[in-house]
Symmetry: C2
Subunit: 156 residues, 2 copies
């Protein structure tokens, strides 16, 4: 026969949720949660079970990377909308969307570097008032790194 002995899973083979979980290291419950939030959109087989395309491995990888960079799932969902719908994303589609991450990362590094400068000067003078930080950094507040309360310390 022409068919290979141990079915070398063609690139079209769909993945079950458990298989995707294993490949990505993301738990099954988290994958369902991502679907619920619109980050992934698996098809279903006749029995109603989720069937993922192999390209979804990359999609989940993107989610993980973006999370590392501090994007919320909502922001990630937004970013993923820039991918072609219908067609399976190509490498250059992924490269394009990843550029956005890189820019964000650069902004973050920049903010942290400014923060470092401020903190150094705060430590230097012992004031710990963020007066200096605010001079350097008027209303940015590294807010990408966490919600954090409103800022506006009026020191002693």
């Amino acid at each position: 026969m022409c068919s290979m002995p141990t079915a070398p899973k063609s690139p079209a083979d769909p993945l079950s949720i458990g298989q995707l979980a294993k490949r990505t290291g993301v738990s099954v419950s988290a994958l369902r949660f991502y679907e619920d939030k619109g980050l992934i959109d698996p098809g279903r087989n006749a029995g109603g079970q989720r069937r993922f395309k192999r390209a979804d491995v990359r999609r989940v990888s993107f989610i993980l990377i973006a999370q590392q960079l501090g994007l919320s799932l909502g922001e990630i969902a937004q970013a993923l909308k820039s991918l072609p719908n219908g067609r399976t994303p190509t490498q250059s589609d992924w490269a394009a969307i990843s550029e956005g991450l890189l820019q964000r990362l650069d902004r973050q590094i920049d903010e942290m570097t400014r923060m470092r400068k401020s903190l150094t000067s705060c430590i230097g003078c012992g004031c710990l008032s963020l007066k200096a930080c605010r001079l350097y950094n008027p209303q940015d507040r590294l807010s990408e790194l966490g919600a954090g309360p409103h800022f506006g310390v009026t020191p002693d």
Copy 2:
């Protein structure tokens, strides 16, 4: 008389929670929450109302700064334990504890810079697999920046 006309609030004047809120920009409810978590420990007046020392303004500033750097309230509580108990912290006490923040910030900048390198190479090859990232960055995962799921992408 020797006393000044409009009572130039001596450094010993205690602050009410509302006054502290105004000085720090932190809401009254958040201040109560911080007390609950052990980050601040105001005394009480005869009527049971919180009375903060002026040094608490600095303490709250520290909390805000540390939050910006991604520390959880629990971690901040830990850090604050290094302050002298009993005595009001001096400028050099604050400088010492802030050194820890600076080191953490440096680690973060370092991690982000490595992440940038990885991401650049991922974008370059279009793989988006984090294979390269993991090479550069074996098990660190910028985890300081958020809980984030377990990492272990096995690409397509």
